[in-house]
Structure formats: structure tokens, C-alpha cells
């Protein structure tokens, strides 16, 4: 995804002289072409993220379209107050791009795990949050973010993720893309967990359960039209993300569902939320290993969906009385 990001950013920058790139001293060689073709619009701001965001704000106040880029925890949590005050309070069109979303950099240890960013960025007024699932969605989300007059956060993976789209989807704030049809359950994959979710859908199919899969790249705003449709007609809707269950995409969907219920909506579906646990991993391991530790494997996801479907088919009982 990061190569697609660098490539698409260069294309956009060559179309729009207002686009400027600010890097937090990462992406060795990744931006060589950008630096060659637009040398005055590339700034290596060093390992100093608070300053980086402020510089981006100053450029945006002058009509430029800055892209602020480094590894997720450092471009979000490290400088959250700068994002809040400089970008969101002033409502400036700065696109914050975090590389290594979720467990992408699992092997680098807990400092580089990024499972809280969606929660932190989502609660900021004015902020749009995107979590693209493959290289094509990265390109589409970047174009969407840079075309809106508001701060945006785009959370991307790392490299060599499977690509699901043949062309760049027309992404928009609050958008999603359907990747698989199925009437028995709906799987809403948020971000770079999509390949696992596609495999989970295959595992379910072998059990005779046909699940639809959507890539829900729009975290804030949500694709509420999609939610309205799937919660009205399915028995189980599952959200799956490489992010803590506190405040992420699944939380956003739960908030939407509760609020709609208060307005009189009677959902047909139960909501099942899958994500990383409320604990840090301390042991070494790859992204695949880290996913197993949080129950984010195709089999584990298929098991949870199967169980939710079984419960949904049973008559309602009070678990305390039962």
C-alpha cells in the first residue's frame, strides 16, 4: 500500500501544484521520484511530529494541500494535540497518512502496533477517517481526502498486500465497496484485515454459510446507507478490524445502531464486533502471528460468525435466567 500511496501522491502532485509532502524521516527511496520532480514541495521534517503537523497547518492556512506522513503511532498519538488544535480546530485541509496501520508492523514490537488510532482520530470534530483495504483503495481514498476541504486521516498498511480491485474505486467520505455477495451474513472489513475476511468468507462458504463482504474504508463518516440496508435484512452483521474494540470502526457502527434504534429503527441483524483485545502483545512475531493472538484468523472469524448465527436462530432467552 505504501508504494501505491507514493505513486498516487506523485501523480496528484503533478496535477495540483498546491500539494506538498511532509515526511517524518521515513520512506527511504520511496519518494525519490517525488523529490526529483517536485523538489521544492518535499519536506523531510525529521523525527519531530509535533512540529511536522504545525508546519502542515501553516502551509494549509496559505492554500496549500499538505500530506503529513509517517508511521501510524507517531503521526497520530504522538502529535494528537497538534492534529486537534492546528488541523481540526482550524478546519484545515491537511491529509494525515499513517503507514503501518493495525498490526502491519507487528514484528517491530508494541511501539509500532497501531490499534488505537481510529478511536483517537474519529472523535475529533471536522476529521474524516479512511481505512483503505488494498493498494487501489489507498489511491482512491487519497484522492478523496485531497479533494475535500477538511482534515483527513488515511490509515494504510505496509507493502505487498493482496489487491482486490482491478481499478481505482471512486472513494468518498463515508464510502464502502462490496467485494462478495452473500445472503446469510454480512462481513464489514475495515482496512488491511480484508484479505483475512475474504478467507473467512470462503471458510464460511465451506460450512454452507454465504456471507457478503464489504470493504468499509469509511470510518468517519460511516457508510450509513450501507448500514441501513444490511441491518434491515440480515441476521448477523460482523465488523472486523485490526484495531481495539474500544472506539474503532466496530464502535462507530455500534453507536450508529444504538442511535438508530432510539429513533425507532428495528434492526433484523445482530452486531458482532471483532478486533484486537484490550492488551498489548509483548512477544515477538509476524503480523500473521499477532493476528492469531487476537483471534483475527479466517477460522476464528468464521467460528465467531457461525456461533452468532446459531444464537440468532434460537428463540430469545435471558442468559441470566437460563
Amino acid at each position: 500500500m505504501r508504494n501505491a500511496f507514493a505513486d498516487e501522491l506523485l501523480k496528484i502532485a503533478l496535477e495540483d501544484p498546491k500539494v506538498v509532502m511532509l515526511s517524518g524521516d521515513i520512506g527511504n527511496r520511496l519518494f525519490d521520484e517525488f523529490k526529483a520532480k517536485a523538489p521544492d514541495r518535499f519536506f523531510n521534517c525529521g523525527v519531530a511530529e509535533a512540529n511536522l503537523i504545525g508546519v502542515a497547518a501553516g502551509l494549509a492556512m496559505d492554500g496549500f494541500r499538505p500530506v503529513a506522513y509517517t508511521i501510524v503511532p507517531f503521526i497520530t498519538a504522538r502529535c494528537l494535540e497538534q492534529i486537534r488544535v492546528d488541523l481540526c480546530y482550524h478546519n484545515l485541509p491537511v491529509t494525515v497518512v499513517g503507514v503501518g496501520g493495525g498490526l502491519s508492523y507487528a514484528s517491530l514490537g508494541g511501539t509500532h502496533h497501531a490499534c488505537e488510532d481510529l478511536a483517537m482520530l474519529r472523535c475529533l470534530p471536522e476529521m474524516n477517517v479512511y481505512a483503505p483495504a488494498d493498494a487501489m483503495e489507498v489511491r482512491g481514498c487519497l484522492r478523496s481526502a485531497l479533494s475535500h476541504d477538511a482534515p483527513a486521516y488515511v490509515r494504510i498498511g505496509k507493502k505487498r498486500e493482496p489487491v482486490f480491485h482491478e481499478s481505482i474505486p471512486a472513494c468518498k467520505p463515508g464510502g464502502s465497496v462490496q467485494l462478495k455477495e452473500g445472503a446469510d451474513a454480512v462481513l464489514l472489513a475495515c482496512g488491511n484485515i480484508l484479505p483475512v475476511v475474504m478467507d473467512a468468507a470462503d471458510a464460511l462458504a465451506k460450512r454452507g454459510v454465504h456471507a457478503a463482504v464489504h470493504s468499509a474504508y469509511g470510518v468517519k463518516p460511516l457508510d450509513t446507507a450501507l448500514l441501513q440496508t444490511v441491518f434491515a435484512k440480515t441476521s448477523v452483521v460482523a465488523t472486523i478490524e485490526e484495531h481495539t474494540l474500544v472506539g474503532g470502526f466496530g464502535s462507530a457502527v455500534a453507536e450508529w445502531l444504538v442511535d438508530r434504534t432510539a429513533e425507532g429503527f428495528a434492526p433484523a441483524a445482530r452486531l458482532l464486533r471483532l478486533g484486537t483485545g484490550d492488551r498489548y502483545l509483548h512477544e515477538a512475531g509476524s503480523q500473521a502471528y499477532a493476528r492469531t493472538q487476537y483471534g483475527l484468523t479466517p477460522t476464528a472469524i468464521a467460528d465467531r460468525v457461525t456461533e452468532a448465527l446459531r444464537l440468532a436462530e434460537k428463540p430469545a432467552t435471558d442468559p441470566v435466567v437460563a
Binding site: 506538498v20 521544492d40 514541495r41 519536506f43 521534517c45 525529521g46 519531530a48 509535533a50 512540529n51 511536522l52 503537523i53 504545525g54 508546519v55 502542515a56 497547518a57 501553516g58 502551509l59 494549509a60 492556512m61 496559505d62 492554500g63 496549500f64 499538505p66 494535540e81 497538534q82 488544535v85 492546528d86 480546530y89 482550524h90 478546519n91
Partner: protein
Amino acid sequence: MSATADLPYRLTDPDQLRAKADRLRAKVVALSHTAGTPHLASALSCMDLLTTAYYTAVRFDPAHPDDPARDRLIFSKGHAIPALYAVLHDIGVISDELLADYNRDGAVLAEQPAPFCAPGVEVATGSLGHGLPIGIGMALAGRLRGDDRRVFVLMSDGECNEGSVWEAAMFAPAQKLDRLVVLIDFNKWQATGRSREVMAIDPLVDKWRAFGWSAHEVDGHDHAAIAGILENFPDGSGRPLAIIGHTVKGKGVSFMEDDNNWHYKVPDRDAFLAAWSELGQPEDEALALLDAAMPAGAH
């Protein structure tokens, strides 16, 4: 923007600058008293740096406040913003009505400034350590646009506690931003203690010099000295400029000077009148101000 002398508010004579600063100090004391807002002593200490910068150097045309090539002054120590409101009122970009509404419910001018609340308030400050990075962004924007703007950032010594200040302090010289100047109101106090005791701030000028700035130490109440440095800005060194102004917190009002209680304390009627008189302003005007500020029906 061309000849700076064309700006209607331009002052060059140090006596005129001193009179202007005292006049604006009195206005700030009045704002603090009538609106009940704190941080008065912080506004008083920076007034000479601010007025010298504005009235001798900053190219900000009240008739064209959105000129893309204007000089930017970022008032980074946002808690003292009444000082800037007073300047902007004096040069005619903040109206009497707007200033009279200061800090009332629903007012445009708040105790710390909201984004784009008035021309000349370039940044919503109040959280320390934000002004300089944003100022760097504005200076880079000027370079990309090829205009001749300069960026002034007024900060406090307490603000220099913030790590973001030193991130920015390392970045600006790397970018050779010689059209950027930092003015530090070094009043030796922060909110709850002596700034040199809370953090090892000394030697402050050496720190900025070591970070690659063209750094100067001056009496922050000496208009001629401050103006003399700004007259040669950019100074040809290729480096950004830092002016460390040694100041007295609460400057201009004897019973507030170097008394950190006035970081939070709000002057009552007697303190306001005493300060107003010490600053050489006419008493009848003070009484009229008090009368106008009284709530309807209280007469």
C-alpha cells in the same frame, strides 16, 4: 506590499512608541477589569516587544488584511491575547463594538482567540508551543509562492518548556528560513514559578544560537533596541532571527511588576484606576469606561 512607511499606523520615534505601549497597556488593564479575565501581567510584559514589532516592522495593511503577501504576526502566547486585540483595535481592524463585547457570551473575541476570529489574529493560540511550527509553515508557503512576506512569532519563556518549540527551533534553520523571527517575552515567570527554577531555561540566547539562529538579547522594554534589530531583518546571515527580550512581568504598573500573583489576579475598580493613572491616561476616560461597562440597569 511596497513602502512600509505608507502604513498609517507606522511609528518610528521611541517616545511615540513608549506612549503607544502605555496607552495599549491601559486598554489591556481595562479589558481585564471589565471582562474579569486573568493573565494581565503576561500581556503587560510583552507589550513593548509587540508594539515595536507592529508599529515599526510588521507589514499588515488594515485596508488589505487578507493580502497573501502580508507579514504574519503569530501571537503564540495566546493567554495574553488582549495585548494583540488592543493593537488591532488601535490600527482599526477590530471595531469598538467587537472590543466592547470581549469575552461576553457569544462574543467574537474570546479570552483566548478562536480560529480566524479577526483580521490579524492569524492563529488560534492558547495551547503553548503551536505558534512557531505554524509560523514555519507560513514562511515555507511564502517561499513556495515567491512573495517577500516575513513571519513574526511572539512567544513566552514558559512556552519554551514545550518540546514542539525545540523541534521547530531545529527545523527552521535547516530550511534556512531567514524571513522568520521569534520574539521571546522573557519575563522570568511562568504560571506557578520562576521560569529558571521550573526548567533549566538559562542561558536562553545561547540555546537559540546553538540551534542555528541569529540570536540577540535585548532589554525587552527598549523600543529603540528592538526596532534596531528588526530594521535589519532579514539580517543577511541566512538564518532565522531570535530576539530574546528581557522583560518584567506586569511591566508599567508598579504594584503588578514582578509579582506573579498577577498571572491570574483580576484588577478590581481601585486597582484598575490606579494602573490607568500610573500609565498616564486621563482619569475621566477611565470613569467613562467604567460607566459604559456597567450592566444595563446598574446605573
